[in-house]
Amino acid sequence: MELALQIGLIATSVLLILLVLLHRGRGGGLSSLFGGGMQSSLSGSSVVEKNLDRATLVVGVIWLICIIGLGLLIKIA
């Protein structure tokens, strides 16, 4: 059980990193980080982005479940 969760966690983690990197970056870097940036243009998100969002969300939830599950296992043990 624990091993399965751990393997699942590793798999989802790697997948999650890849999925997030696939997104188009928003925000204009450092200058807008601490105030003083212009508001970005209001271009709507494309279909690709939307599907990516969904996939990221699903993987993220699985990732979270794995972490919580492992935490519970440690607590019980």
Binding site: V14, H23, G27, L30, S32, L33, G35, G36, S40, L70
Partner: protein, 433 residues
Amino acid sequence: MLGAFRSALATPDLRKKILFTLGIIVLYRVGALLPSPGVSYPNVQKCIANVQQDGIYSLLNLFSGGALLQLSVFALGIMPYITASIIIQLLTVVIPRFEQLKKEGQAGQGKLTQYTRYLTIALAILQATGIVALADRGQLFGECQDDIIPGDKIFTLILIVITMTAGTAVIMWLGELITERGIGNGMSLLMFVNIAARIPYEGKIIWDKGPITFTVICLFGLAIIASVVFMEQGQRRIPVQYAKRMIGRRMYGGTSTYLPLKVNQAGVIPVIFASSLLYLPDLISRLIGGSQDSGWQRFIQQYLVQQDSWVHILVYFALIIFFTYFYITITFNVNERAEEMRKFGGFIPGIRPGRPTSEYLNFVLQRITLPGSIYLGIIAILPNFFLSVTGTGNNQNFPFGGTAVLIMVGVGLDTVKQIESQLMQRNYEGFLR
């Protein structure tokens, strides 16, 4: 004041945006409290209670909202992203290709952002490995003896590193979601949340010193916040006159506007630069030897790490002033600005376009930056004088001074401005219909 809040919540799309932002913030805080798998939560809590935090992690810990020392899933916070942005920003000066990308406008900027994201993941892996290694060797908390990561299998360690890296990626995504669909800049909002989350804890430490101290410090903090708002809003308006010109059938220009030069053009970035640079000697001395006995290590401990020593304060102050000038020279390109103005038929009254304009801009900028940099330095070193009051040694976490207040005020102002502009949009729309 309250009326603005009500109208902000009464506007449907704005309300949706604000709620979305709040939801993401809640998610983020939950992640920051969730311990990584394999980390013993009770032992970590015991160690945190035992150990006085020392200098080297205080800034990192501040930016992660206390998540770092708890080794939670979001332990790294947004620090990797900030570091990556700073590195990329500095590289635009060094690498010609990056400079070209920056000039290309939206598309080039997008590419730079993408590089920043890749670099963030790389840095996250590095930092996670470093922290997990430290925790595994029991050095994260100094002399705390409890086993933070029980079951020292290498597999567990790798698992934690991967989880933390994925956590950083998730934070990046959350920040971008806020930027895209919420209010304000996501990354800076998350940083704001991190700092704000520590205020109750720090407040309790001060409260324990007695209610009078607490009141005085609160009043003092309010005064500092007010003065920071004052300085952040301060700007010199250089008048610019635009010539009238025809494009097609429409007349453009002919107006006189101004070019705003802020007193503190650089924001908090010089402070972040300076403090990360100041922690380097300590880091090196720790990495080289465990024994703090050789002469130079003792020197570092006594003069650079001790935050109430005069050497530390002076060096910090000087570094901040230096980095303010440095950063402004990098980000605010005077020649470019003058060139742009000339292209669109603008000029500063009494000064010829082209080189004289850029020289004038440079002159004004250099002069206005001097009070700006001194102000930054003073705000940043203020908490060092309060060490006897807060007494925890982690002065940068002191909520009413230093980096924390600068960031909070900066981000707060920015976010409120964005909400206001959205409200304005809405009202104009209603007005026109």
